[in-house]
Symmetry: C2
Subunit: 406 residues, 2 copies
């Protein structure tokens, strides 16, 4: 008897957790399980703002897939997904093709540029290990260049972050913390460095309680961060960005422009013919796509509506990880030919945004607000909890964050 082929695309939070759960829930006698990923490692997307700022080495964010996936139970294919053909039930890879009976798409996010001119070409993004490491090295390179130039070039030591949402704020907090070290390393007068955050919306950290937002902005401003709120980025060029507020345009010269203002689902999903909204598939409650009973979407390529607010839940690691529980269960149901599909309901335990080592803001247990050290500890507990879930105590000890009293 032919075993059904299950293929999981992507080893991000959703994909790897689905795989790890499936390898425990269902035997190799029942299923032929394959995981496809571009790299041989999983990485913690929620820690990348630290690697980008250079405050946490990217190797700390990476987990070798072989450390959490049992290659005796799972075929691991290191390759890049080019497209999916859901009608023919196959996946086109850079170096081949894969057929599937059941597919789990966990291909993650891309930056959304909202059509703003020049972002694609001139902005750096906190998307993956490679792009984050490049932000660190770009800042270092430009700071290094500064004292080698005949004329003053302030754009080299001006860092601009597009977006004061979750990622933008977390990144700027790390950079602010690192600036004293950077200035020392490169013999630069700290008073000459600019760290600017530009936000088109009416507030930083949209969705957070105003008291928390105020705390965050005060703390960051005290570290030298300039906020330009209600200010839209009109264009990015090789030498800076053009912003507009109340109809007045201004150029901010910078060679270090990081775009952290929006994400969308991986464009492979849209290109493969799935119906999407900002690259994300509006999935059924059991996580299957509207059109295909054999395709599940987890993580940032999926969109779930929050019935209370009437708006979609933001794509977070927390939701991706919770989706994996349901995805793994429903794959098992499909493989076994059952019909007891589980439905997915997000259970938002808490949301904590870091403001740099030792400081954070957050909401836990629904309404409990946290500031500063307490929030920072909570953030580390959340991170450590995930590692425990993914790879057990061994992984936690290897990759966990234990400097909670720092």
């Amino acid at each position: 008897m032919k075993k059904p082929k299950v293929v999981v695309l992507g080893a991000g939070y959703g994909g790897i957790m689905t795989t790890v759960k499936l390898q425990k829930m269902i035997g190799t006698n029942e299923v032929d399980l394959t995981l496809v990923n571009k790299h041989d490692y999983h990485y913690q997307t929620t820690w990348l703002h630290e690697s980008s700022a250079g405050t946490l080495h990217h190797d700390r964010t990476r987990i070798p897939i072989k450390d959490v996936v049992d290659f005796n139970k799972v075929n691991f294919v290191q390759d890049t997904v080019i497209s999916i053909d859901p009608k023919a039930k196959k996946v086109i890879l850079e170096d081949g093709e894969l057929e599937y009976d059941y597919l789990v798409i966990g291909l993650g996010f891309e930056s959304a540029t909202f059509g703003i001119k020049g972002i694609e070409e001139h902005a750096y993004t906190i998307n993956n290990v490679n792009s984050s490491r490049l932000i660190r090295d770009t800042i270092e390179y430009n700071f290094s260049l500064y004292n080698n130039e005949e004329e003053e070039r302030p754009e080299l030591i001006t860092i601009v972050v597009g977006g004061a949402g979750f990622t933008g704020i977390e990144f700027v907090g790390e950079v602010a913390n690192r600036l004293p070290e950077l200035c020392h390393e490169y013999d630069i007068d700290p008073s000459k460095v600019r760290l600017v955050t530009v936000e088109a919306g009416p507030s930083a950290l949209a969705g957070f309680d105003p008291e928390l937002v105020e705390y965050a902005m005060n703390r960051l401003e005290a570290k030298g961060v300039e906020f330009k709120i209600g200010t839209a980025i009109k264009e990015a060029t090789a030498d800076g960005i053009v912003v507009e507020k109340d109809g007045v345009q201004e150029e901010i010269k910078t060679k270090n422009f990081v775009w952290a203002a929006g994400v969308r689902g991986n464009s492979i999903v849209e290109k493969s013919g799935f119906e999407v909204n900002r690259g994300r598939v509006q999935i059924r409650p059991d996580l299957r796509t509207p059109d295909y009973d054999d395709v599940i979407v987890v993580g940032d390529c999926a969109v779930i509506m929050n019935e209370e607010t009437g708006r979609p839940y933001p794509p977070t690691a927390q939701i991706a990880i919770q989706m994996a529980d349901v995805a793994a269960h429903n794959v098992k149901v499909m493989v076994r030919g059952g019909s007891e599909f589980k439905e997915f309901t997000p259970n938002i335990l808490g949301t904590v945004a870091s403001l740099g080592e030792g400081d954070a803001i957050g909401v836990v247990f629904g309404t409990r607000k946290l500031f500063g050290w307490m929030a920072s500890v909570m953030k580390k507990i959340i991170d450590n909890r995930y590692l425990l879930k993914l790879g057990g105590i061994g992984l936690l000890l290897k990759k966990g964050k234990f400097n909670i009293f720092k």
Copy 2:
């Protein structure tokens, strides 16, 4: 009675050693001694190839001037020399002027481009702390960029060194040693990285014994260095260099081109009207310039002929340091109105070229050839000996190289 004003320009090997000796030899009641330097630190030029490769932090090469110069005895002026007016006996600085009765010029070297098109604009140089740190950061930035590019761009991970003389070889040896770490840090397949040394002359390490040259080339080739000997660089561009051998031209694409093929004296000296040959003043045996009895030149701005070979001595730290002895004595003679000038005779104790940590070649005591570990230890002893001479045991313990058994 007016005290004579002695001004020393530059805190490189020659300038700082002259100052340190003078402050011991002659009291503040006799002389008004001023040291002018662009930075508030002295640095070890002979260690910069390590900072450039990223194998030794530049702070290890730096010594705060206040640690070796007694500011109660010496006026320290942190400023940039623009020009010298030897007729009016004054020095024009960026932020003012200084008058002198006796002047010591120790303004060091610049890269000589030999008029090769594009070197000035597109090559990195191992000239000072800023330019060396920039080489490290440029290589890291380009390696970081490599995995972010849609198309393969081998020029990002190709490092080309122009010149297989002392500095070029020492630099390439350090880079070769660091490559495994760089490839690991940036997830790059080491077999794709190229490390090329281009030398116009008929041999690497001109002036060294052929047996030593062969040893050096073999060792470096074993670490992956490609040598292109008898190959002239015709042009440097933003994307690489054009070389020519036996009338055949070839382009080598690189974003990491380091020019280490020649030095000349600081151009300020030539611009100030002193008669020079490749920027260097052909000084009298007592180190004074041919035209001015009150101006002494030490270090790389001075040229001394080797009577035996009929060629000038290469500008080295060793000679600069030895010149400082004579310079300080002769300044004292001038200040006191005597006539017992000392004449300078170089005493070449040894010449050791590093091939990267733990390996070197050299000649000591005239003809004794050294290889490998022995030569490497000798190199560190020479370095440590200088620190002891400059700042005593305290400085030696702080900045010395003690990993001699590594």
